[in-house]
Amino acid sequence: MTKPLSQFTLKEEQFRTLIEHNIDGMVIIRHDRTIQFVNPAACRFLGRQADQLLGASFGFPVIAGQTTEIDLHGQNGLVTPVEMRMVTVEWEGQTNYLACLRDLTERRKSEEERKRLENQMQYAQKLESLGVLAGGIAHDFNNLLMAIVARAGLGLRSVGPESPAHPHLKHIEKSGLRGGELANQMLTYAGRGKPTIHSVNVSQLIKEMAHLLRVSISKRAVLSYDLAQTPPPIQADPSQLRQLVMIMLTNSSEAIGEQSGAITLSTGSITTNLEHLKDWYVAGDVPVGLGVYIDVRDTGPGMDADIIPKIFDPFFTTKFTGRGLGLAALLGIVRAHDGAVVVMSQKGEGTHVRLLFPTSVDEKLNIAPFQPLATSWNPTGTVLVVDDEEDVRVASQLILEEIGFTVIVACDGREGLALYTQHAATITLVLLDLTMPHMNGEELFNAIRQQNMDVPIMLSSGYTEEDASKRFASEGVAGFIQKPYLIDTFIEKIRQVLETEN
Protein backbone atom coordinates (compact mmCIF):
# COMPACT_ATOMS: atom_id res chain seq x y z
CA MET A 1 0.00 0.00 0.00
CA THR A 2 1.31 3.49 -0.87
CA LYS A 3 1.86 5.95 1.98
CA PRO A 4 0.66 9.57 1.56
CA LEU A 5 3.52 11.97 0.82
CA SER A 6 3.18 13.70 4.22
CA GLN A 7 4.14 10.46 5.96
CA PHE A 8 7.47 10.17 4.16
CA THR A 9 10.60 11.30 5.91
CA LEU A 10 13.10 12.01 3.19
CA LYS A 11 16.79 12.29 3.83
CA GLU A 12 18.76 15.15 2.25
CA GLU A 13 20.36 12.70 -0.16
CA GLN A 14 16.95 11.54 -1.34
CA PHE A 15 15.82 15.16 -1.85
CA ARG A 16 18.99 15.80 -3.83
CA THR A 17 18.28 12.78 -6.04
CA LEU A 18 14.75 13.99 -6.71
CA ILE A 19 15.90 17.49 -7.61
CA GLU A 20 18.98 16.54 -9.60
CA HIS A 21 17.11 13.97 -11.67
CA ASN A 22 14.04 16.07 -12.22
CA ILE A 23 13.58 16.68 -15.95
CA ASP A 24 11.93 20.02 -15.12
CA GLY A 25 14.17 22.97 -14.35
CA MET A 26 13.98 24.54 -10.87
CA VAL A 27 15.22 28.03 -10.10
CA ILE A 28 14.99 29.74 -6.70
CA ILE A 29 14.84 33.53 -7.12
CA ARG A 30 15.36 35.86 -4.19
CA HIS A 31 13.24 38.98 -3.67
CA ASP A 32 16.12 40.99 -5.22
CA ARG A 33 15.68 38.84 -8.41
CA THR A 34 19.01 37.03 -8.05
CA ILE A 35 19.29 33.30 -8.50
CA GLN A 36 19.81 31.36 -5.26
CA PHE A 37 19.58 27.83 -6.56
CA VAL A 38 19.37 26.00 -9.89
CA ASN A 39 19.01 22.30 -10.55
CA PRO A 40 20.87 20.55 -13.43
CA ALA A 41 17.86 20.66 -15.76
CA ALA A 42 17.64 24.47 -15.38
CA CYS A 43 21.41 24.75 -16.03
CA ARG A 44 20.90 22.76 -19.21
CA PHE A 45 18.02 24.98 -20.40
CA LEU A 46 20.01 28.12 -19.61
CA GLY A 47 23.19 26.77 -21.22
CA ARG A 48 25.35 27.70 -18.23
CA GLN A 49 27.06 26.08 -15.26
CA ALA A 50 25.47 26.50 -11.82
CA ASP A 51 28.33 28.71 -10.62
CA GLN A 52 27.69 31.10 -13.56
CA LEU A 53 24.07 31.37 -12.57
CA LEU A 54 24.16 31.64 -8.78
CA GLY A 55 23.89 35.29 -7.77
CA ALA A 56 23.01 36.44 -11.32
CA SER A 57 19.96 38.59 -11.85
CA PHE A 58 17.21 36.42 -13.33
CA GLY A 59 14.35 38.92 -13.24
CA PHE A 60 10.97 38.86 -11.64
CA PRO A 61 8.87 36.04 -13.07
CA VAL A 62 5.47 37.23 -14.25
CA ILE A 63 2.94 34.51 -14.86
CA ALA A 64 -0.45 34.95 -16.46
CA GLY A 65 -2.81 32.52 -14.74
CA GLN A 66 -1.15 29.16 -14.05
CA THR A 67 1.73 29.13 -16.51
CA THR A 68 3.52 31.27 -19.06
CA GLU A 69 5.54 30.22 -22.06
CA ILE A 70 8.97 31.82 -22.45
CA ASP A 71 12.11 31.19 -24.48
CA LEU A 72 15.28 30.54 -22.46
CA HIS A 73 18.43 31.80 -24.17
CA GLY A 74 21.52 29.69 -23.55
CA GLN A 75 25.02 31.12 -23.62
CA ASN A 76 25.71 28.80 -26.55
CA GLY A 77 22.98 30.54 -28.58
CA LEU A 78 20.49 27.71 -28.18
CA VAL A 79 16.94 28.73 -27.40
CA THR A 80 14.77 26.37 -25.33
CA PRO A 81 11.05 27.06 -25.18
CA VAL A 82 9.73 26.34 -21.69
CA GLU A 83 6.53 26.60 -19.72
CA MET A 84 7.18 28.56 -16.53
CA ARG A 85 5.20 28.06 -13.34
CA MET A 86 5.91 30.07 -10.21
CA VAL A 87 5.20 29.56 -6.49
CA THR A 88 6.42 31.39 -3.42
CA VAL A 89 8.53 29.26 -1.10
CA GLU A 90 10.38 29.62 2.19
CA TRP A 91 14.11 29.40 1.40
CA GLU A 92 16.76 29.93 4.05
CA GLY A 93 14.31 31.79 6.22
CA GLN A 94 13.09 34.14 3.49
CA THR A 95 10.12 34.18 1.16
CA ASN A 96 11.52 33.52 -2.30
CA TYR A 97 10.13 32.43 -5.66
CA LEU A 98 10.45 28.98 -7.14
CA ALA A 99 10.24 29.03 -10.94
CA CYS A 100 9.57 25.58 -12.41
CA LEU A 101 10.54 25.24 -16.06
CA ARG A 102 9.15 22.49 -18.32
CA ASP A 103 10.79 21.87 -21.69
CA LEU A 104 8.35 22.51 -24.56
CA THR A 105 10.68 21.62 -27.43
CA GLU A 106 8.87 18.40 -28.33
CA ARG A 107 5.44 19.94 -27.84
CA ARG A 108 6.36 22.87 -30.10
CA LYS A 109 7.65 20.44 -32.71
CA SER A 110 4.37 18.52 -32.73
CA GLU A 111 2.42 21.77 -32.82
CA GLU A 112 4.47 22.91 -35.81
CA GLU A 113 3.90 19.55 -37.51
CA ARG A 114 0.17 19.80 -36.81
CA LYS A 115 0.14 23.35 -38.17
CA ARG A 116 2.06 22.22 -41.26
CA LEU A 117 -0.48 19.44 -41.88
CA GLU A 118 -3.36 21.86 -41.32
CA ASN A 119 -1.84 24.29 -43.81
CA GLN A 120 -1.36 21.46 -46.27
CA MET A 121 -4.99 20.46 -45.82
CA GLN A 122 -6.20 24.05 -46.24
CA TYR A 123 -4.05 24.37 -49.33
CA ALA A 124 -5.52 21.18 -50.78
CA GLN A 125 -9.03 22.46 -50.07
CA LYS A 126 -8.19 25.80 -51.63
CA LEU A 127 -6.84 24.04 -54.72
CA GLU A 128 -9.94 21.88 -54.87
CA SER A 129 -12.33 24.83 -54.78
CA LEU A 130 -10.21 26.83 -57.21
CA GLY A 131 -10.15 23.72 -59.39
CA VAL A 132 -13.95 23.56 -59.43
CA LEU A 133 -14.10 27.27 -60.21
CA ALA A 134 -11.43 27.06 -62.93
CA GLY A 135 -13.10 23.99 -64.44
CA GLY A 136 -16.48 25.74 -64.56
CA ILE A 137 -15.08 28.91 -66.10
CA ALA A 138 -13.01 26.98 -68.63
CA HIS A 139 -16.09 24.97 -69.65
CA ASP A 140 -18.25 28.02 -70.32
CA PHE A 141 -15.36 29.87 -71.88
CA ASN A 142 -14.68 26.96 -74.25
CA ASN A 143 -18.33 26.92 -75.36
CA LEU A 144 -18.10 30.59 -76.30
CA LEU A 145 -14.79 30.08 -78.05
CA MET A 146 -16.26 27.14 -79.90
CA ALA A 147 -18.78 29.42 -81.56
CA ILE A 148 -16.06 31.98 -82.40
CA VAL A 149 -13.59 29.46 -83.85
CA ALA A 150 -16.26 27.52 -85.77
CA ARG A 151 -17.81 30.64 -87.27
CA ALA A 152 -14.38 31.98 -88.24
CA GLY A 153 -13.59 28.59 -89.82
CA LEU A 154 -16.87 28.61 -91.75
CA GLY A 155 -16.13 32.17 -92.86
CA LEU A 156 -12.69 31.10 -94.09
CA ARG A 157 -14.24 28.30 -96.14
CA SER A 158 -16.79 30.67 -97.63
CA VAL A 159 -14.53 33.54 -98.65
CA GLY A 160 -11.48 31.62 -99.88
CA PRO A 161 -7.82 32.63 -99.49
CA GLU A 162 -7.99 35.56 -101.94
CA SER A 163 -10.59 37.52 -99.96
CA PRO A 164 -9.49 40.61 -97.97
CA ALA A 165 -11.53 39.15 -95.09
CA HIS A 166 -9.38 35.99 -95.07
CA PRO A 167 -6.50 37.28 -92.81
CA HIS A 168 -9.01 38.81 -90.39
CA LEU A 169 -10.95 35.57 -90.09
CA LYS A 170 -7.69 33.65 -89.72
CA HIS A 171 -6.73 36.00 -86.90
CA ILE A 172 -10.10 35.49 -85.17
CA GLU A 173 -9.68 31.72 -85.45
CA LYS A 174 -6.13 31.87 -84.07
CA SER A 175 -7.11 34.13 -81.17
CA GLY A 176 -10.04 31.83 -80.35
CA LEU A 177 -7.71 28.84 -80.21
CA ARG A 178 -5.27 30.77 -78.01
CA GLY A 179 -8.19 31.51 -75.71
CA GLY A 180 -8.83 27.76 -75.65
CA GLU A 181 -5.21 27.15 -74.66
CA LEU A 182 -5.60 29.63 -71.81
CA ALA A 183 -8.77 27.85 -70.66
CA ASN A 184 -6.88 24.56 -70.81
CA GLN A 185 -4.08 26.07 -68.71
CA MET A 186 -6.73 26.78 -66.10
CA LEU A 187 -7.88 23.18 -66.36
CA THR A 188 -4.28 22.00 -66.00
CA TYR A 189 -3.90 24.07 -62.86
CA ALA A 190 -7.07 22.48 -61.57
CA GLY A 191 -5.40 19.10 -62.15
CA ARG A 192 -7.95 18.31 -64.88
CA GLY A 193 -5.66 18.32 -67.87
CA LYS A 194 -5.28 15.01 -69.64
CA PRO A 195 -1.73 13.66 -69.59
CA THR A 196 -0.63 11.11 -72.19
CA ILE A 197 1.75 8.93 -70.21
CA HIS A 198 5.03 7.60 -71.58
CA SER A 199 8.23 6.33 -70.05
CA VAL A 200 10.53 9.37 -70.16
CA ASN A 201 14.25 9.92 -69.74
CA VAL A 202 14.27 13.50 -68.45
CA SER A 203 17.87 14.17 -69.49
CA GLN A 204 17.15 13.07 -73.04
CA LEU A 205 13.99 15.17 -73.12
CA ILE A 206 15.94 18.27 -72.04
CA LYS A 207 18.78 17.60 -74.52
CA GLU A 208 16.20 17.53 -77.31
CA MET A 209 14.90 20.91 -76.14
CA ALA A 210 18.34 22.56 -75.98
CA HIS A 211 17.92 24.79 -79.01
CA LEU A 212 14.42 25.88 -78.01
CA LEU A 213 15.60 26.65 -74.48
CA ARG A 214 18.55 28.71 -75.71
CA VAL A 215 16.36 30.98 -77.81
CA SER A 216 13.67 31.25 -75.14
CA ILE A 217 15.81 32.91 -72.49
CA SER A 218 17.37 36.32 -72.20
CA LYS A 219 20.60 36.83 -74.15
CA ARG A 220 22.16 38.08 -70.92
CA ALA A 221 21.58 34.77 -69.16
CA VAL A 222 24.18 32.01 -69.51
CA LEU A 223 22.50 28.61 -69.57
CA SER A 224 24.50 25.58 -68.46
CA TYR A 225 23.53 21.94 -68.08
CA ASP A 226 24.38 19.26 -65.56
CA LEU A 227 22.34 16.32 -66.80
CA ALA A 228 22.57 12.80 -65.39
CA GLN A 229 23.73 10.32 -68.05
CA THR A 230 20.99 7.74 -67.51
CA PRO A 231 18.45 8.85 -64.91
CA PRO A 232 15.77 6.27 -64.02
CA PRO A 233 12.74 6.63 -66.31
CA ILE A 234 9.60 8.34 -65.06
CA GLN A 235 6.02 7.92 -66.20
CA ALA A 236 5.08 11.29 -67.61
CA ASP A 237 3.49 13.22 -70.41
CA PRO A 238 6.49 14.44 -72.45
CA SER A 239 4.72 17.53 -73.77
CA GLN A 240 3.71 18.53 -70.25
CA LEU A 241 7.28 17.93 -69.03
CA ARG A 242 8.54 20.21 -71.81
CA GLN A 243 6.00 22.78 -70.65
CA LEU A 244 7.37 22.50 -67.08
CA VAL A 245 10.96 23.03 -68.22
CA MET A 246 9.91 26.01 -70.33
CA ILE A 247 7.96 27.58 -67.45
CA MET A 248 10.91 27.21 -65.06
CA LEU A 249 13.44 28.50 -67.58
CA THR A 250 11.28 31.44 -68.60
CA ASN A 251 10.70 32.41 -64.98
CA SER A 252 14.42 32.24 -64.20
CA SER A 253 15.26 34.26 -67.29
CA GLU A 254 12.66 36.89 -66.45
CA ALA A 255 13.92 37.01 -62.86
CA ILE A 256 17.43 37.77 -64.13
CA GLY A 257 15.90 40.43 -66.38
CA GLU A 258 18.27 42.97 -67.88
CA GLN A 259 21.14 42.00 -65.59
CA SER A 260 23.72 39.38 -66.48
CA GLY A 261 23.16 36.08 -64.80
CA ALA A 262 23.42 32.32 -64.95
CA ILE A 263 20.84 29.55 -65.10
CA THR A 264 21.77 25.94 -64.41
CA LEU A 265 19.50 23.13 -65.50
CA SER A 266 20.28 19.78 -63.93
CA THR A 267 18.74 16.34 -63.62
CA GLY A 268 19.45 13.29 -61.52
CA SER A 269 18.00 10.78 -59.10
CA ILE A 270 17.72 11.22 -55.36
CA THR A 271 16.05 9.75 -52.30
CA THR A 272 14.33 12.58 -50.49
CA ASN A 273 12.35 12.85 -47.29
CA LEU A 274 10.66 15.79 -45.62
CA GLU A 275 13.53 16.13 -43.13
CA HIS A 276 15.86 16.93 -46.06
CA LEU A 277 13.43 19.57 -47.21
CA LYS A 278 12.86 21.40 -43.94
CA ASP A 279 14.41 24.59 -45.35
CA TRP A 280 12.49 24.34 -48.62
CA TYR A 281 8.96 25.33 -49.53
CA VAL A 282 7.24 22.11 -50.58
CA ALA A 283 4.09 21.76 -52.70
CA GLY A 284 2.70 18.42 -53.87
CA ASP A 285 3.66 14.89 -52.81
CA VAL A 286 7.34 14.19 -52.27
CA PRO A 287 8.01 10.76 -53.84
CA VAL A 288 8.73 7.96 -51.41
CA GLY A 289 12.02 6.20 -52.21
CA LEU A 290 14.12 6.97 -55.25
CA GLY A 291 12.86 9.94 -57.23
CA VAL A 292 14.01 11.83 -60.30
CA TYR A 293 14.61 15.56 -60.13
CA ILE A 294 14.74 18.41 -62.61
CA ASP A 295 16.49 21.43 -61.08
CA VAL A 296 16.64 25.00 -62.25
CA ARG A 297 18.88 27.43 -60.36
CA ASP A 298 19.28 31.04 -61.24
CA THR A 299 21.35 33.94 -60.00
CA GLY A 300 18.38 36.31 -60.12
CA PRO A 301 17.25 38.57 -57.28
CA GLY A 302 15.57 35.76 -55.31
CA MET A 303 12.39 36.13 -53.28
CA ASP A 304 11.34 36.99 -49.77
CA ALA A 305 10.17 34.00 -47.75
CA ASP A 306 6.60 35.33 -47.55
CA ILE A 307 6.32 35.53 -51.36
CA ILE A 308 7.26 31.89 -52.01
CA PRO A 309 3.95 30.27 -50.88
CA LYS A 310 2.02 32.67 -53.12
CA ILE A 311 3.87 32.01 -56.37
CA PHE A 312 1.74 28.95 -57.18
CA ASP A 313 -1.55 30.80 -56.66
CA PRO A 314 -3.32 31.40 -59.96
CA PHE A 315 -3.16 35.00 -61.13
CA PHE A 316 -0.35 35.84 -58.68
CA THR A 317 2.41 37.58 -60.58
CA THR A 318 5.23 39.99 -59.86
CA LYS A 319 5.69 40.67 -63.56
CA PHE A 320 4.13 43.59 -65.37
CA THR A 321 3.09 41.44 -68.32
CA GLY A 322 2.50 38.17 -66.48
CA ARG A 323 -0.86 36.43 -66.24
CA GLY A 324 0.15 34.49 -63.15
CA LEU A 325 -0.77 31.13 -64.60
CA GLY A 326 2.66 29.67 -65.42
CA LEU A 327 3.62 28.39 -61.98
CA ALA A 328 -0.02 27.57 -61.15
CA ALA A 329 -0.10 25.34 -64.24
CA LEU A 330 3.33 23.94 -63.30
CA LEU A 331 2.02 22.83 -59.92
CA GLY A 332 -1.09 21.35 -61.55
CA ILE A 333 1.04 19.31 -63.96
CA VAL A 334 3.44 18.17 -61.22
CA ARG A 335 0.51 17.08 -59.04
CA ALA A 336 -1.03 15.20 -61.97
CA HIS A 337 2.27 13.27 -62.17
CA ASP A 338 2.23 12.47 -58.41
CA GLY A 339 5.28 14.66 -57.95
CA ALA A 340 6.32 17.64 -55.88
CA VAL A 341 7.82 21.03 -56.51
CA VAL A 342 10.21 22.40 -53.90
CA VAL A 343 11.58 25.93 -53.84
CA MET A 344 14.43 27.56 -51.98
CA SER A 345 15.06 31.25 -52.41
CA GLN A 346 16.29 34.25 -50.49
CA LYS A 347 16.31 37.90 -51.39
CA GLY A 348 19.58 38.55 -53.19
CA GLU A 349 20.54 34.88 -53.26
CA GLY A 350 18.84 33.60 -56.43
CA THR A 351 16.22 30.89 -56.68
CA HIS A 352 16.44 27.13 -56.80
CA VAL A 353 13.37 25.21 -58.01
CA ARG A 354 13.35 21.42 -57.96
CA LEU A 355 10.71 19.16 -59.47
CA LEU A 356 10.60 15.68 -57.95
CA PHE A 357 8.92 12.73 -59.67
CA PRO A 358 8.51 9.11 -58.64
CA THR A 359 10.59 6.72 -60.72
CA SER A 360 9.02 3.90 -62.65
CA VAL A 361 10.09 0.45 -63.64
CA ASP A 362 7.33 -0.61 -65.99
CA GLU A 363 7.56 1.12 -69.27
CA LYS A 364 4.15 1.87 -70.67
CA LEU A 365 4.29 3.12 -74.18
CA ASN A 366 1.13 4.77 -75.27
CA ILE A 367 1.95 6.54 -78.46
CA ALA A 368 -1.16 7.39 -80.42
CA PRO A 369 -0.71 6.53 -84.09
CA PHE A 370 -0.58 9.46 -86.43
CA GLN A 371 -3.80 9.88 -88.36
CA PRO A 372 -3.60 11.85 -91.54
CA LEU A 373 -6.36 14.37 -92.15
CA ALA A 374 -9.03 13.25 -94.55
CA THR A 375 -8.49 15.01 -97.81
CA SER A 376 -11.62 14.00 -99.62
CA TRP A 377 -14.58 12.67 -97.74
CA ASN A 378 -18.15 12.99 -98.86
CA PRO A 379 -20.32 11.70 -96.05
CA THR A 380 -24.05 11.19 -96.15
CA GLY A 381 -26.61 10.47 -93.47
CA THR A 382 -28.29 12.34 -90.64
CA VAL A 383 -26.61 13.69 -87.52
CA LEU A 384 -28.59 14.61 -84.43
CA VAL A 385 -26.87 17.51 -82.63
CA VAL A 386 -28.00 18.03 -79.04
CA ASP A 387 -26.51 21.08 -77.30
CA ASP A 388 -28.08 23.72 -75.05
CA GLU A 389 -25.72 26.45 -76.33
CA GLU A 390 -27.36 27.89 -79.41
CA ASP A 391 -24.11 29.25 -80.87
CA VAL A 392 -22.43 25.86 -80.57
CA ARG A 393 -25.49 24.06 -81.92
CA VAL A 394 -25.76 26.27 -84.98
CA ALA A 395 -22.02 26.22 -85.66
CA SER A 396 -21.96 22.41 -85.55
CA GLN A 397 -25.02 22.28 -87.81
CA LEU A 398 -23.43 24.58 -90.39
CA ILE A 399 -20.17 22.57 -90.46
CA LEU A 400 -21.94 19.23 -90.73
CA GLU A 401 -24.32 20.45 -93.43
CA GLU A 402 -21.43 21.89 -95.39
CA ILE A 403 -19.69 18.52 -95.64
CA GLY A 404 -22.89 16.76 -96.69
CA PHE A 405 -24.79 15.59 -93.63
CA THR A 406 -28.43 16.24 -92.95
CA VAL A 407 -28.66 17.75 -89.47
CA ILE A 408 -31.37 17.69 -86.85
CA VAL A 409 -30.83 19.92 -83.80
CA ALA A 410 -32.21 19.77 -80.26
CA CYS A 411 -31.67 22.29 -77.49
CA ASP A 412 -31.84 19.90 -74.53
CA GLY A 413 -31.91 16.23 -73.65
CA ARG A 414 -35.68 15.92 -73.63
CA GLU A 415 -36.08 17.38 -77.12
CA GLY A 416 -33.10 15.28 -78.22
CA LEU A 417 -34.82 12.07 -77.13
CA ALA A 418 -38.09 13.05 -78.82
CA LEU A 419 -36.27 13.81 -82.09
CA TYR A 420 -34.19 10.65 -81.88
CA THR A 421 -37.34 8.54 -81.36
CA GLN A 422 -38.97 10.25 -84.33
CA HIS A 423 -35.97 9.88 -86.72
CA ALA A 424 -34.28 6.77 -85.31
CA ALA A 425 -34.32 4.98 -88.63
CA THR A 426 -32.34 7.68 -90.45
CA ILE A 427 -29.90 8.94 -87.77
CA THR A 428 -26.34 7.78 -88.42
CA LEU A 429 -24.61 9.70 -85.61
CA VAL A 430 -25.57 11.55 -82.42
CA LEU A 431 -23.41 14.48 -81.26
CA LEU A 432 -24.12 15.08 -77.62
CA ASP A 433 -23.25 17.86 -75.18
CA LEU A 434 -22.57 16.71 -71.64
CA THR A 435 -24.26 19.30 -69.44
CA MET A 436 -27.76 20.29 -70.44
CA PRO A 437 -30.99 21.22 -68.65
CA HIS A 438 -33.98 18.84 -68.19
CA MET A 439 -32.16 15.70 -69.31
CA ASN A 440 -28.36 15.74 -69.29
CA GLY A 441 -26.04 14.09 -71.81
CA GLU A 442 -25.65 10.86 -69.87
CA GLU A 443 -29.41 10.44 -69.30
CA LEU A 444 -30.06 10.99 -72.99
CA PHE A 445 -27.26 8.57 -73.89
CA ASN A 446 -28.86 5.84 -71.77
CA ALA A 447 -32.33 6.57 -73.14
CA ILE A 448 -31.07 6.29 -76.74
CA ARG A 449 -29.18 3.09 -75.85
CA GLN A 450 -32.46 1.55 -74.67
CA GLN A 451 -33.78 2.04 -78.19
CA ASN A 452 -30.63 1.31 -80.17
CA MET A 453 -27.39 -0.26 -78.96
CA ASP A 454 -25.51 0.45 -82.19
CA VAL A 455 -25.97 4.07 -83.23
CA PRO A 456 -22.62 5.87 -82.67
CA ILE A 457 -22.87 8.58 -80.02
CA MET A 458 -20.08 11.12 -79.79
CA LEU A 459 -19.55 13.50 -76.89
CA SER A 460 -18.57 17.13 -77.20
CA SER A 461 -17.73 19.23 -74.16
CA GLY A 462 -16.00 22.32 -72.84
CA TYR A 463 -14.45 20.04 -70.20
CA THR A 464 -11.38 17.95 -70.95
CA GLU A 465 -11.89 14.30 -71.89
CA GLU A 466 -10.62 13.22 -68.48
CA ASP A 467 -12.98 15.54 -66.63
CA ALA A 468 -15.87 14.63 -68.92
CA SER A 469 -15.27 10.92 -68.28
CA LYS A 470 -15.60 11.59 -64.53
CA ARG A 471 -19.00 13.13 -65.16
CA PHE A 472 -20.05 10.47 -67.64
CA ALA A 473 -19.86 6.96 -66.25
CA SER A 474 -21.67 5.10 -69.05
CA GLU A 475 -19.66 2.94 -71.43
CA GLY A 476 -19.89 2.75 -75.18
CA VAL A 477 -19.18 6.32 -76.25
CA ALA A 478 -17.89 6.36 -79.82
CA GLY A 479 -15.69 9.45 -79.50
CA PHE A 480 -14.96 12.69 -77.67
CA ILE A 481 -14.04 16.14 -78.89
CA GLN A 482 -13.17 19.07 -76.65
CA LYS A 483 -14.46 22.54 -77.51
CA PRO A 484 -13.20 24.75 -79.01
CA TYR A 485 -12.04 22.80 -82.05
CA LEU A 486 -10.96 23.58 -85.57
CA ILE A 487 -13.39 22.56 -88.30
CA ASP A 488 -10.87 20.14 -89.82
CA THR A 489 -10.29 18.46 -86.46
CA PHE A 490 -14.03 18.10 -85.96
CA ILE A 491 -14.57 16.60 -89.40
CA GLU A 492 -11.63 14.23 -88.96
CA LYS A 493 -12.96 13.06 -85.60
CA ILE A 494 -16.40 12.36 -87.06
CA ARG A 495 -14.85 10.51 -89.98
CA GLN A 496 -12.82 8.33 -87.57
CA VAL A 497 -15.91 7.56 -85.49
CA LEU A 498 -18.04 6.59 -88.47
CA GLU A 499 -15.29 4.53 -90.13
CA THR A 500 -14.63 2.66 -86.87
CA GLU A 501 -18.33 1.98 -86.39
CA ASN A 502 -18.69 0.70 -89.94
Binding site: G59, V62, I63, A64, I70, H73
Partner: protein, 91 residues
Protein backbone atom coordinates in the same frame (compact mmCIF):
# COMPACT_ATOMS: atom_id res chain seq x y z
CA UNK B 1 14.18 62.91 -15.37
CA UNK B 2 14.31 60.64 -18.38
CA UNK B 3 13.11 57.12 -17.71
CA UNK B 4 13.30 54.06 -19.92
CA UNK B 5 11.31 50.87 -20.34
CA UNK B 6 12.46 48.31 -22.87
CA UNK B 7 10.45 45.33 -24.00
CA UNK B 8 12.37 42.50 -25.66
CA UNK B 9 10.18 40.17 -27.71
CA UNK B 10 10.74 36.97 -29.72
CA UNK B 11 9.69 38.08 -33.21
CA UNK B 12 6.07 39.02 -33.54
CA UNK B 13 3.91 36.28 -32.04
CA UNK B 14 0.20 37.09 -31.67
CA UNK B 15 0.60 37.85 -27.98
CA UNK B 16 3.16 40.60 -28.69
CA UNK B 17 0.62 43.29 -29.45
CA UNK B 18 -1.13 42.63 -26.12
CA UNK B 19 2.19 43.05 -24.28
CA UNK B 20 2.97 46.26 -26.17
CA UNK B 21 -0.51 47.60 -25.47
CA UNK B 22 -0.13 46.79 -21.77
CA UNK B 23 3.18 48.66 -21.52
CA UNK B 24 1.68 51.72 -23.16
CA UNK B 25 -1.30 51.43 -20.83
CA UNK B 26 1.06 51.31 -17.82
CA UNK B 27 2.88 54.35 -19.13
CA UNK B 28 -0.34 56.24 -19.74
CA UNK B 29 -2.19 55.31 -16.56
CA UNK B 30 0.53 54.87 -13.97
CA UNK B 31 3.65 56.72 -15.01
CA UNK B 32 2.29 60.05 -16.27
CA UNK B 33 4.01 59.42 -19.61
CA UNK B 34 7.48 60.19 -18.23
CA UNK B 35 8.84 56.88 -19.48
CA UNK B 36 10.03 56.20 -22.98
CA UNK B 37 9.14 52.77 -24.24
CA UNK B 38 11.26 50.85 -26.74
CA UNK B 39 10.13 47.59 -28.33
CA UNK B 40 12.99 45.37 -29.46
CA UNK B 41 12.55 42.25 -31.57
CA UNK B 42 15.41 39.94 -30.60
CA UNK B 43 15.12 38.07 -33.89
CA UNK B 44 15.90 41.28 -35.75
CA UNK B 45 18.39 42.65 -33.20
CA UNK B 46 20.11 39.41 -32.29
CA UNK B 47 23.45 41.11 -31.48
CA UNK B 48 21.80 43.48 -29.05
CA UNK B 49 19.99 40.61 -27.39
CA UNK B 50 23.29 38.75 -27.01
CA UNK B 51 24.97 41.80 -25.50
CA UNK B 52 22.21 42.15 -22.92
CA UNK B 53 22.80 38.54 -21.77
CA UNK B 54 19.17 37.65 -21.37
CA UNK B 55 18.11 34.51 -19.66
CA UNK B 56 14.65 34.62 -21.13
CA UNK B 57 12.40 36.35 -23.62
CA UNK B 58 9.97 38.14 -23.27
CA UNK B 59 11.73 40.45 -20.87
CA UNK B 60 10.87 43.98 -19.79
CA UNK B 61 13.75 46.06 -18.42
CA UNK B 62 13.47 49.30 -16.56
CA UNK B 63 16.86 50.90 -17.13
CA UNK B 64 16.16 54.28 -15.61
CA UNK B 65 15.76 55.40 -12.93
CA UNK B 66 18.12 52.99 -11.21
CA UNK B 67 18.10 50.33 -9.92
CA UNK B 68 17.70 48.32 -13.11
CA UNK B 69 14.77 45.97 -12.79
CA UNK B 70 13.66 43.28 -15.13
CA UNK B 71 10.66 41.03 -15.37
CA UNK B 72 10.43 37.89 -17.45
CA UNK B 73 7.33 36.06 -18.52
CA UNK B 74 4.07 37.54 -19.64
CA UNK B 75 4.30 41.35 -19.90
CA UNK B 76 0.56 41.64 -20.44
CA UNK B 77 -0.03 41.12 -16.68
CA UNK B 78 -0.09 44.78 -15.77
CA UNK B 79 -0.16 44.61 -11.97
CA UNK B 80 2.58 41.99 -11.79
CA UNK B 81 4.79 43.89 -14.23
CA UNK B 82 4.43 47.02 -12.10
CA UNK B 83 5.32 45.00 -9.02
CA UNK B 84 8.27 43.31 -10.69
CA UNK B 85 9.69 46.59 -11.99
CA UNK B 86 9.05 48.25 -8.63
CA UNK B 87 7.00 50.89 -10.34
CA UNK B 88 4.19 52.17 -8.27
CA UNK B 89 1.38 54.39 -9.33
CA UNK B 90 2.15 58.04 -8.85
CA UNK B 91 -1.55 58.84 -8.77
Amino acid sequence: MKSDLKLYLPGQPPKSHVAIKTLHQIRHEQLQQEYEIAIIDVLVNSQLAKAKKFFAIPTVIKELPLPIRRVIGDPSEKEKVLLGLELFSST
